[in-house]
């Protein structure tokens, strides 16, 4: 166990990538994640790695595509408008089954939006974003320590399944300072990258493409991807619960909203209300079954998000109409306070739903 150090969320992500053995970083400046490329521009030369400021997120994400083809552990980071520009490369990487780590430090949208924290990119991250039938693994940390740990995990998952993995944070998590214990590169038993295009020496050539003009072959490729996604859904569901055992009101929230909701749970408990929190950590695969089980004994569910209500659709899919699912959200860069969430809890308890 290492010593605790005080770190900003964005810096923890950057250092975690270094600890995970990432030696290639391509990115383009955008608030509120500039600390990551700045940190990388300092740190990469120290560890013999590559930092390159791309001319755009379109180019940066395609550099990631290239480095991933060449077998590198590679990362890019951005915030909402920049992630929109990366959707082309993300779809191509999903199609060509290339491992990489993407970080979205989400800000308010749509359009240029604002620079305060938001969770309005949930749909984009978990439901596609780019074109075609594909999935990303999407992880949602809720503390600086988790930003560190899940970033390291993300590299292993990417290599294990040959898939782009996204860390979905927000401006608040990125800017927040907390003590962290630096993580370590995982010991996962990872498959060798025999598919990488590193030069056809003593082997037949490798080709990396997402093109398949024969629809029967493309369908088969999609079926194969589907099988992989099902395997990931079986193996990589992550979530945390807080005081859910006897909860009559079950809050569901991820990331920053989970922290706020946890504070609201404590306040509600002080008032004698039986409230608990279910926190999805993997947004894809979404913990449908675990949430359904956690909600079994409760009377009602309240989803809290910094959006107009996006994850709540998955929560409803998990609950399948067996109890009322309410939504409370602030958006556009506004953050709900624990008191607001408490008041919403009290309102729905009083209404008797």
């Amino acid at each position: 166990m290492g010593e605790k150090v005080l770190m900003k969320g964005n810096e923890a992500i950057a250092e975690a990538a270094i600890l995970a053995g990432c030696r290639h970083f391509f990115g383009y400046p955008i608030t509120p994640q500039n600390e990551i490329p700045e940190y990388m521009s300092r740190r990469m030369p120290e560890v013999g790695g590559v930092f390159l400021q791309a001319e755009s997120e379109v180019a940066g994400s395609n550099m990631v595509y290239g480095a991933a083809c060449a077998g590198a552990r590679v990362m890019t980071t951005s915030s909402s408008p920049g992630i929109s520009l990366m959707q082309e490369a993300i779809s191509y990487m999903a199609g060509a089954e290339l491992p990489c780590v993407l970080v979205n430090i989400v800000r308010g949208g749509p359009g240029l939006g604002g620079i305060q924290g938001s969770q309005a990119d949930y749909f984009q991250a978990t439901k596609g974003g780019g074109h075609g039938d594909y999935r990303l693994i999407v992880l949602a940390p809720a503390s600086v320590q988790e930003l560190m740990d899940l970033t390291i995990t993300a590299f292993d998952l990417a290599d294990m399944y040959r898939i782009p993995v996204m860390i979905l944070g927000d401006a608040i998590l990125g800017q927040m300072m907390e003590p962290v214990i630096p993580g370590r590169r995982g010991k996962a038993d990872l498959p060798p990258k025999t598919w990488a295009t590193v030069g056809a020496k003593m082997r037949p050539k490798n080709v990396i493409t997402s093109l398949s003009l024969d629809p029967a072959k493309l369908e088969q490729h999609n079926f194969d991807l589907g099988k992989k996604y099902n395997k990931i859904a079986d193996e990589q569901v992550r979530y945390k619960t807080y005081m859910t055992d006897d909860a009559e009101t079950l809050l569901v929230a991820y990331g920053t909203c989970a922290r706020i909701s946890q504070a609201a749970v404590d306040m509600a408990r002080e008032r004698g209300l039986r409230v608990g929190l279910f926190r999805p950590v993997s947004l894809w695969p979404f913990p449908y079954e675990a949430l359904q089980l956690a909600a079994e004994e409760s009377l009602r569910v309240l989803t809290v998000e910094m959006s107009l209500g996006q994850m709540v659709e998955d929560v409803r899919l998990a609950i399948l109409g067996s109890k009322p699912v309410r939504f409370y959200g602030r958006t556009g860069g506004m953050t709900p306070t624990p008191r607001e969430v408490l008041e919403e809890i009290e309102r729905i308890v009083e209404e008797g739903i």
Partner: protein, 248 residues
Amino acid sequence: MKKVFGRPEALTDVPTHYCPGCTHGIIHRLIAEVIDELGVCEKTIGISPVGCAVLAYDYFNCDFVEASHGRAPAVATGIKRTLPDSVVFCYQGDGDLASIGAAEIVHAATRGEKITVIFVNNAIYGMTGGQMAPTTLPGQRTTTSPRGRDVESAGHPIRVAELLSSLSGVAYISRVSATSPANVTKAKRAVRKAFETQIEGKGFSLVEFLSTCPINWGMSPLEAMKWIDDKMSLYYPLGDYTRVPEVG
């Protein structure tokens, strides 16, 4: 007996899908010959574009990556920065390179990425059926400039070699064609020089080919060759465009 003409080892033994009279095939051959002569096939990674040459990976015997439309120079950057000892080349059409990928080519060039770009300028969008390209000549008819390219509304064709030659990261640029045996010989020399420039670590290199698209130009293969000599090469003069970068 010594074999004087055969398939280069860097080319696969499959028939290409290119139309009769299309010079994509000759250009492939020249690249493959240079790869063979330099003995670098085992460390070469090619990048194919979106365009008629999208399947170039079927025709070369080296590792290959297919890039999204226009992004080949960014993909090449990612590969070369990961494998600095490899030989990386992009193969791109004019729509790919000079329209949708204009930013990527300019920045790869100005960064002096140690890659080689083979730029196939056929003044038209071949794959999608003959629409106007950024390099379509003034007055040239295409399916989206049916009355001929009107520069007042459609703007002017881009001279890529000239444009990029102003950038300090560029170590070698040449414009060639494959319309005659003499031109093919010159073209091969240029391709070789471009690859050598990369291997010697000097910076970015690009060879622009004026290339035929008889199908979409509505010409016979011979007419198409002649159109390059008589029309295209007036707007796009052949020759070396390398400038010695200014110091200071």
